[in-house]
């Protein structure tokens, strides 16, 4: 039958039909979304730390959606999967609802009981006061991750401490920042200052952009792909980025330094490097040239398993497109314990290509000169975080979280109290679990400020429920970026349950500790308004627009031939690092063989999955629906050997006999036969996380071989191997 006629027929009969209205009540055709009363409130996403700006939409008083702010450089109006699912953080039924205080239950067991804010805050203030009196205020550390921690930094600065440690350092970007500081006198920063949309060649070493969903990176990489960029991905796994690459180099895990040295060898021996750039800006080239001469591609082949010709070809490809060639520095860089050196090699390679400060390489960031709200001077703390490091990690520029934890164990430990804000320590720091238990025994006070009953809350004396980012003000986002810009996070909803914003909690504690002068305002919005007025805006305006971009005042790239002084001792880009040499480290990157893989064991590879951020979103009811568990990727050869198939449940056992939670197998050709891969963040044990608990396995539990970077203390996580323990039927039941 003719289609047009068909429509007519059904149309006519439908129109002719009269329907008793009683049948229609209760379920008439649904109204279309957005037909009700809609409001939009600016926010800055807090589902990860890329800090995209957007608007929270509410329809008829019901949360509706979050959409990126078109003016925002971090998102270009498009949030990532997790940011779009951000409402789930607010809607999560398992959120912490009121303060909880550790106490002894009727049968002698320790339990948490609900407490009023007054009581909980009084307990904390009293104990903090006692620590300050007995040991000194510098003995309280803040372990934190996220923008909201700024309120507690203000509190602790006023109190007299300066140990603020984030896992985004020693478990993440630390080696990269230190390596780039050593080389260029400044770090890469966040958002990473990669100029990918202008790159003609991009080299990803590990960086699994695409699964790593840092929004701006994903977007600029895609623009580059559309422009026909030559993408070279070095990854032992067929990552999403690898699937988009011209050249995928399935490197033997842990041998990247060998590849980097060989690439430098080719660039120098074939005279392909940017001679003018190196001559003008860099020092130590001769030493470098002499050093890398020993490492031709033929040598690297034996280490990396990559054909010498492929190494040469890719090196030439990089040179051909230089300086618009970006060798991406990666972000989560704590791999094998030689991470600062690997990152140094990347920094040096970029110098040879002349990409630092050049279009398509690394741009120069600029942020808004935003004055701080006037506060009295903070007292000088009695000690710095360096106490925690002792003689170790000379190049650490921030407190190393694992060192802070070590310095909290035992009666004579330096630290006596912790505030833990927005970091799930047991799942975040490899091998930390036994230490956390010991630290919990030693410390006089552990306060956990969180939104969820995450595993870390189990160590707390007092748990304080913060409201989510959708229910609060935080400091303005003033990130160094392509263009200076400010973005506002403000409450879209009233805090649910008895949760409170971080600024309120910090201020309450401040007042109880006699530090009210550091909180000379009633509501944090006053601080924001004051700051905004200093730069020609106001809270009112920002509540309307959410994001304000400012014109750049300085150039985004080096000007042609421009003289430049780098913030290094020599004032040059330091290919050869005298500073490293002085402290007994290799002044030029040296290849170190990774740990050998025992028979029938596999490299434990891990990374991100697009739907989740670490362990913080796995209970988010929206994102849960995208990916409720992680799966264990294994190659079909491994599957055959172990008689496993997709969907089977297995446990892993690592080289130290630690057995993982049960995880479902995914047989895929995207991983080689020497490794297994899983996304980080699953395998929660906290029962109160009702959606996620017990689903999937936790990579960090298997990371008992922690490869500490001697230069700056980062915890290398990739030296672990696993074998399989098949679940028997009973175990599974």
């Amino acid at each position: 039958m003719d289609r047009r006629e068909f429509i007519k027929v059904s149309g006519v009969t439908a129109a002719a039909a009269t329907v008793p209205s009683i049948f229609l009540s209760g379920c008439s055709t649904q109204p279309n979304p957005g037909e009700g009363e809609v409001t939009a409130t600016p926010t800055v996403c807090d589902i990860c730390f890329w800090k995209c700006a957007g608007h929270v939409y509410v329809e008829d008083s019901v949360p509706w959606k979050i959409i990126g702010n078109d003016e925002d450089l971090h998102s270009n109006g498009r949030l990532c999967t997790r940011g779009t699912g951000g409402l789930g953080a607010y809607q999560d039924k398992d959120r912490l609802k009121m303060p909880l205080v550790r106490t002894v239950g009727p049968n002698g067991q320790q339990i948490f009981r609900e407490a009023s804010w007054d009581e909980a805050l009084d307990i904390i203030a009293k104990r903090m006061q006692k620590i300050a009196d007995e040991h000194g205020a510098d003995r309280v550390a803040l372990l934190n991750h996220g923008a909201g921690a700024s309120h507690f930094k203000n509190l602790l600065r006023g109190y007299g401490s300066a140990t603020f440690s984030a896992p985004s350092y020693a478990q993440c970007r630390g080696p990269r920042e230190v390596a780039f500081q050593l080389t260029y006198g400044e770090g890469v920063g966040s958002p990473d200052r990669t100029d990918m949309e202008h790159s003609r060649c991009i080299v990803l070493i590990g960086s699994h952009i695409g699964e790593n969903l840092h929004n701006g990176q994903v977007q600029t990489l895609t623009r580059a792909l559309e422009n026909g960029v030559s993408l070279i991905t070095v990854d032992p796994r067929f990552s999403v980025a690898a699937s988009k690459s011209q050249h995928w180099l399935p490197i033997r895990p842990g041998t990247d330094v060998a590849l980097l040295l060989a690439w430098m060898n080719v660039l120098i021996s074939e005279g392909l490097y940017d001679k003018a750039y190196v001559e003008q800006y860099a020092m130590g080239f001769e030493q470098l040239a002499a050093h890398v001469r020993q490492f031709p591609p033929e040598w690297a082949y034996l280490q990396t398993g990559l054909e010498p010709e492929l190494i040469r070809e890719t090196a030439r490809e990089m040179a051909k497109n230089a300086p618009a060639t970006l060798v991406h520095p990666g972000r989560h860089t704590t791999w094998y314990g030689d991470d600062t050196q690997r990152e140094r090699a990347i920094a040096i390679l970029n110098t040879l290509l002349g990409s630092w400060g050049r279009p398509g390489g690394f741009y120069i960031q600029e942020k808004v000169k935003l004055p701080n709200y006037p506060l009295p001077d903070y007292p000088k703390p009695k000690s710095t975080f360096k106490v925690a490091h002792g003689d170790d990690y000379p190049f650490a520029t921030q407190p190393v979280s694992n060192a802070v934890i070590d310095a909290s164990i035992g009666d004579d430990a330096h630290y006596k109290g912790w505030l833990v804000y927005g970091t799930n320590l047991p799942m975040t720091i490899p091998g930390v679990r036994p230490k956390l238990r010991q630290a919990a025994d030693s410390l006089d006070l552990i306060v956990v400020i969180d939104t969820m009953p995450a595993e870390v809350t189990g160590y707390a004396d007092v748990i304080l429920p913060e409201c989510t980012y959708l229910e609060r003000y935080d400091e303005l986002r003033n990130a160094a970026e392509r263009e200076p810009s400010l973005a506002l996070r403000m409450p879209a909803f009233k805090p649910r349950h008895d949760s409170k914003p971080g600024w309120w909690i910090a201020k309450q504690l401040g007042e109880r500790l006699g530090l009210q002068k550091y909180f000379p305002w009633n509501d944090y919005s006053e601080v924001l308004d004051w700051q905004l007025k200093q730069v020609g805006s106001s809270l009112d305006e920002m509540q309307q627009i959410g994001v304000k971009n400012f014109p750049r005042k300085t150039p985004k790239y080096f000007q042609a031939g421009e003289a430049r002084r780098f913030n290094t001792p020599s004032g040059k880009i330091e290919l050869y690092s005298q500073r490293l040499a002085d402290r007994g480290f290799d002044p030029l990157p040296v290849y170190k063989r990774p740990p050998e893989r025992p028979d029938n064991y596999y490299h434990l590879n891990y990374g991100r999955m697009p739907a989740h951020t670490f362990s913080r979103t796995t209970n988010n009811p929206l994102l849960f629906q995208l990916a409720p568990e992680n799966t264990l990727w294994i190659n079909s050869l491994v599957a055959r050997q172990w008689k496993l198939k997709t969907g089977d449940s297995v446990r892993m056992q690592n080289q130290d006999g630690i057995v993982s939670k049960s995880i479902r197998v995914r047989v895929t050709e995207r991983i080689g036969p020497d490794s297994v891969f899983m996304a980080h963040g699953f395998g929660h044990s906290a029962k109160q996380l009702r959606l996620t608990n017990g689903l999937g396995a936790d990579d960090s539990a298997l990371m008992t071989n922690v490869l500490i970077d001697p230069i700056m203390g980062a915890t290398g996580m990739r030296g672990n191997f696993v074998t399989f323990v098949k679940n028997s039927e009973q175990e599974h039941a």
Binding site: M1, F6, V9, S10, T13, A14, A16, A17, V19, F23, C27, V62, P63, L87, G88, Q91, K93, A611, P621, L622, F624, Q625, L626, A627, P628, E629, T631, S636, T646, G647, R664, R666, V667, T668, E669, R690, L691, L695
Partner: protein, 340 residues
């Protein structure tokens, strides 16, 4: 070259890993619909042949069963609807391209025909009941009338019954999205199977020895045709699309259906009754006379059951699911009433 396809984020427990929208309600309905068609057919046939005296059950008493059986089927069909209040929507339109829409109207037509069949045979078939019936005003007039036009009624009933019988198969075969259903043989197969079950039903309940023998003979013939149709169906699948080949494999060798198909349907529902009824015809064994028809009825149901289920398992797309459905179910429990 292998192709793995993994779905992320669909999470539709009624689709993944296989379509599971229709269960026993539909199988029962299709079975009873076919049985009804057969009943109406045989009632009409017996009346056209004027066998009211020789074959009392089929000619005079059987008609009463049609609306009863059909109503049970309609009830299970109704149970399957998810938007039950809106069932009337079947009758606010006729969608010419939708067998289901046609079917809905056929069902509506079947009822009056069936009632007329009952009325026209009621006095003979159920003298006591008809005594009561005729106390109702106009009732005896109606019965008179129906009796007078019994031939006309029968002539209308036969094509209606065939339409109903075929429709139960066409309903499924119209879904070209489900390779196993998408064959022209389902209509005839379901029709013949429906008639076979009605014959078996008659054998079970008829008192007269003669009548039982006649219907056993009918049934043997129908079973024979059915076996041929089944073989044709298998050949049809074997020469069909890739998806149909897969369905064939699922039905006959691999998959979870081989036992049900060969064992419960083909062997127990066709071959064994063929023998049993044949022996019964020759030896007149009372036990076998019950066993045979019972197996036919069972086989008739198994045919619908297998067809409905296997059809849903065959699909153009065969995506694997990366995540376990049980894991996903958690969110339905905890957020039963929505996220907000």
């Amino acid at each position: 070259m292998i192709e793995e396809i993994l779905i992320t984020a669909r999470h539709n427990p009624k689709i993944d890993p296989i379509l599971g929208i229709w269960t026993w309600e539909i199988s029962v309905y299709l079975f009873l619909g076919g049985l009804t068609a057969g009943i109406i057919f045989f009632v009409a046939l017996m009346n056209l042949l004027e066998k009211n005296d020789t074959y009392n059950f089929s000619a005079n008493r059987l008609a009463l069963w049609a609306p009863i059986v059909l109503s049970i089927g309609m009830t299970t069909l109704f149970l399957d609807l998810e938007h039950k209040l809106y069932v009337f929507r079947f009758y606010t339109t006729l969608e010419p391209t939708s067998p289901m829409s046609w079917g809905a109207w056929v069902l509506i037509i079947i009822y009056p025909i069936s009632i007329l069949q009952i009325l026209s045979t009621f006095r003979v078939g159920y003298p006591v009941l008809s005594g009561w019936l005729e106390k109702i005003p106009f009732a005896s007039k109606l019965v008179d009338l129906s009796e007078r036009y019994i031939k006309v009624i029968s002539w209308i009933a036969i094509p209606s019954a065939i339409a109903l019988g075929i429709y139960t198969g066409v309903l499924l075969s119209a879904f070209n999205a489900r390779p196993f259903w998408n064959t022209g043989l389902l209509g005839p197969l379901f029709l013949i199977s429906g008639m076979s079950t009605a014959a078996a039903f008659t054998v079970l309940f008829a008192r007269s020895h003669e009548e039982r023998r006649l219907f056993t003979r009918y049934d043997l013939g129908l079973i024979g045709i059915e076996i041929i149709l089944v073989v044709l169906l298998l050949i049809n699948l074997a020469t069909g699309t890739e998806q149909q080949l897969k369905a064939l494999e699922f039905l006959t060798t691999g998959g979870g259906y081989a036992v049900a198909f060969w064992g419960a349907f083909f062997f127990m529902g066709l071959i064994v009754p063929l023998f049993v009824e044949f022996i019964d015809l020759v030896q007149e064994n009372r036990t076998l006379a019950i066993l045979g028809p019972l197996l036919v009825l069972l086989g008739g149901y198994m045919l619908r059951h297998i067809t409905v289920n296997l059809g849903q398992e065959t699909s153009w797309q065969n995506y694997g699911t990366e995540y376990s459905v049980e894991a996903l179910e958690r969110v339905n429990k905890i957020y039963k009433h929505g996220l907000n």
